[in-house]
Structures are given as C-alpha cells and as structure tokens.
C-alpha cells in the first residue's frame, strides 16, 4: 500500500492533506492511493450545502461544523471556490468565515475549470475524508446559480441555503437547484422577509408530488447561531430515513457506478487523444475544423475512425 494511504488510514492529517493534493493533480499516484483505499470508509454522511453567493454558506458551514463537533462528530469540510477562467488562479476565502476551525479539518478546493459547482476531484476528496474516519463531511459548493446541481449526486443530504429577498415565489418554483434540496434553509432569518421566503418554499414543496421524505424548511441565523439544533436534527433524520429505506447503500452504489463511467471516459479520452496526436490526425482535423473546412462532429468521427478500430463499434450503433 502507498505510504500516504497507510498514514491517512492511521488518521495522519498531513498525509490526508497531501493525498488530496495528489488526487487533485491526477496521474499514477492518484490511482495508487484510490486503489489502496478501495473498500474503506462508507460510514461518513456527506452533507452538501449549496446556494447563491452571499447566502451565508461559509458562515453556516462553520457554525454547523462547530455544533456537530461539540456533539461528538468528527467533522471534515471541503469548500469549493471558483478558479479564474483566465489565469487558472483562485482566491479561496472560505476560511475567513470559518474562524480558527478548532478540531476540524478544512480543505479549500479550487474548481479548476469544472462546471456544476464542485471540482473534478471533489468526489475523490470525499472518499479520502471518508476513509480517514470522519463521521460527517460538509461539502460547500461554489456560490451557485440555478443549475449547479451536481452536489445532489455526491451528497447523501443536500441542504439548499437561501436568504430573504432573493426573489418572488416564482423563483422558488423554478427547476434546478430548488428541486434538489433534502433540507431547505432560509438563512439570515433575522432579516425582514424570512417568514415570507420560508412560506414560499413550503408552498412550492406542498404543491409537488408526495415523496417518502418531505424536505423541511428551516430558518437559521448562522451569525447568531440560531436554528442550528433544528438543522442538525433534520440532517440526522435524513440519514435515518436513507438507511431505513435502503437508500444509503444505493447511493454508494450509484456513486461508484458513476465514478467508473467518469474514470472510463477520462482514461479513454487520454489514450485515444494521445494516439491521434501521435499520428498527427488530431492536429490535421483540429486545423480543418478551425478553417471551417470540416464540421466538428465529422472531424471527431474521422479521427476516431482512424484510432479506434471500427470493429469495436456496436453494430448499428
């Protein structure tokens, strides 16, 4: 087993931090670490928090983490912030709101060009924290708009954080982020309009089809530390619901299946591209497309026809 993986399993935090860097970077060492951790963990509840920029996610995560720690949980935090599309740089500021983070493990991840509110390595980073023995992993997305819904696939429990005054009741009915909450939180509940926002959300949920789990609508003031007990109770209730309904195991299986698909796509793309670049077919096609001589799909088919044997294609596919 890789030394890093072994130390991580022993609870060594520096090894965990190093391992996250490795899985963010990719390559052979990443595969080695993930292989070594295969079958480890599976106990941590992954709680995703998403919502608009400025909704108070970082402050809420910080307060929630502190309260969970005081309740005896081992809490790890992954906080994703956007990378610059121009320079690749990032300013990761979630620690500003998280104070000293006594007894917590906090890691800031840059999105590195990945859309959807997370970074490409987030799923693997969650696996690392899980294997390292954290009982709850709080996952904070980039400030989300309406469509950043990737979090719901990764998290057991998705908390959608909103604030008063973000829009009328129609906003609450839109598709996307408002559909994915297992728990809804109206943060900054000390501001005017909190009751209205909570009412609009409750209405929206009542009009939807009945589900096994009815997402509660809670009000918190992260700054004042209000509403945290109710939020923790809802998070625990949701975990119990998942386990009771057999959904916990299904979540893990779905996640692994999707990781396989992603891993396959990544490896296949890398190999096929390397072959095509080696023969020069890639460059020729890319230039032809750039000149407007060939459309992108035809070019892709043409290059694939050269590097991947046609016999491997599904008949009629």
């Amino acid at each position: 087993m890789s030394q890093l993986a072994a130390a991580l399993l022993q609870g060594d935090r520096r090894a965990l931090a190093r391992a996250i860097t490795v899985i963010e970077t990719g390559g052979a060492e990443r595969a080695e670490i993930l292989k070594a951790l295969h079958g480890r963990g599976g106990q941590a509840q992954v709680v995703g928090l998403t919502g608009a920029p400025g909704a108070g996610k970082s402050t809420l995560v910080s307060r929630l983490a502190g309260a969970l720690r005081d309740a005896g949980e081992r809490v790890g935090i992954l906080a994703v912030d956007p990378s610059s599309p121009f320079t690749g740089g990032a300013l990761l500021g979630d620690r500003v709101r998280m104070g000293t983070g006594e007894g917590l493990f906090i890691r800031s991840l840059a999105s590195r060009g990945h859309a959807g509110g997370l970074s490409r390595a987030t799923a693997d980073a969650v696996r690392l924290l899980d294997a390292a023995g954290f009982s709850i992993i709080l996952l904070e997305t980039v400030g989300a708009g309406q469509g950043e819904v990737e979090i719901m696939r990764l998290a057991h429990t998705t908390v959608v954080v909103t604030v008063p005054g973000l829009g009328d009741d129609v906003q609450a009915f839109k598709a996307g982020i408002m559909e994915i909450g297992d728990i809804f939180v109206v943060n900054k509940s000390d501001l005017p309009g909190a009751n209205i926002a909570a009412r609009d959300l409750t209405m929206m949920l009542m009009l939807g089809p009945a589900r096994d789990w009815s997402p509660p609508v809670l009000q918190t003031s992260a700054l004042k530390g209000e509403g945290l007990d109710e939020l923790i109770k809802a998070i625990r209730d949701h975990a119990a619901h998942l386990r009771g309904a057999g959904l916990w195991d299904r979540h893990a299986a779905d996640l692994l299946r999707r990781r396989f698909e992603e891993a396959f796509a990544e490896v296949a793309l890398r190999r096929l591209r390397a072959t095509a670049e080696g023969s020069g077919a890639w460059q020729v096609a890319a230039e032809a497309v750039a000149r407007g001589d060939l459309d992108p799909y035809a070019a892709a088919e043409q290059v694939l026809g050269q590097v991947a044997p046609a016999s491997a294609e599904v008949p009629g596919g």
Partner: protein, 134 residues
C-alpha cells in the same frame, strides 16, 4: 502541472489587511491558488491551515511589530508537523535589523511596503518546485 498553492495569513493583532489582499489578488492573477485566512490568526491556526491546505508557500502579513515572536513560532510549528519544505515569506513593516534573525529562523524573504507584486510572484516561481501551469 498543478497550480502553486499559497496561504496568505494575517497573524497578530493588527487589522490592516489591504496589503495582504493586494498580494492575494496578485498571486491569484498569476495563476496561483490563494487561501486567505482572514484577520487575527494565531501561529497554531496558521500552521493547521498550512498543513490542511497542503500549501507550497506561507505568506504572513504582519504590521504589529510582533514578527520576532510570531513568525518563529509558525516555522517551529510547521517543522514539528514535518512541513519544513514550505516556503516562508513575510510582508509588512519589519526593521532592517530584524531581517537577519528572521532569515536565520527560516524566512526565505521579507517584503516591505511598496514592494512590486511582480517581484513577489517571481520570487515564488523561482523557489517553488511545483511550478505554475503553462
């Protein structure tokens, strides 16, 4: 190549973080991942953040005059955690006669007021093995 990761920390009790923010912004624009801690961090907190974030560089901003007590504590903490390969930099108001002892303690560079941010970027690129993305 992976981006260089830098922890920009305000240690000590002063609340002047304009310099820290200017540097954080400049490093971000140079393609680095900058983790900003916010104000009033203790040496223990800076060390924990540097370890958890697995940074290549720790840049401390300090204007309160406490550099001779705070900075060696941070360096000792990093060494105790086995993170002695982290590049340590200090920015702020540091009297000339303190620079020698700080360098001896393990500070790679001290940047005073009015430093060109480009100079800081180049210094980091020249001293960190990871290099920045092409």
């Amino acid at each position: 190549m992976r981006p260089i990761r830098v922890l920009v920390a305000k240690a000590g009790l002063d609340s002047h973080d304009r310099g820290a923010k200017v540097i954080a912004r400049a490093l971000r624009d140079a393609g680095m991942e900058v983790i900003y801690t916010g104000l009033h961090r203790t040496p223990e907190h800076v060390v924990a953040a540097a370890i958890q974030e697995d940074v290549d560089v720790v840049a401390i901003s300090l204007l309160s005059g406490a550099h001779l007590t705070v900075v060696p504590k941070i360096i000792a903490g990093l060494r105790a955690e086995g993170a002695d390969d982290v590049l340590m930099m200090l920015g702020g108001i540091v009297p000339d006669e303190d620079v020698g002892p700080l360098r001896e303690a393990g500070v790679a560079a001290v940047f005073g007021p009015g430093t060109d941010t480009e100079e800081v970027v180049e210094f980091i690129r020249g001293h960190v093995r990871a290099g920045s993305p092409a």
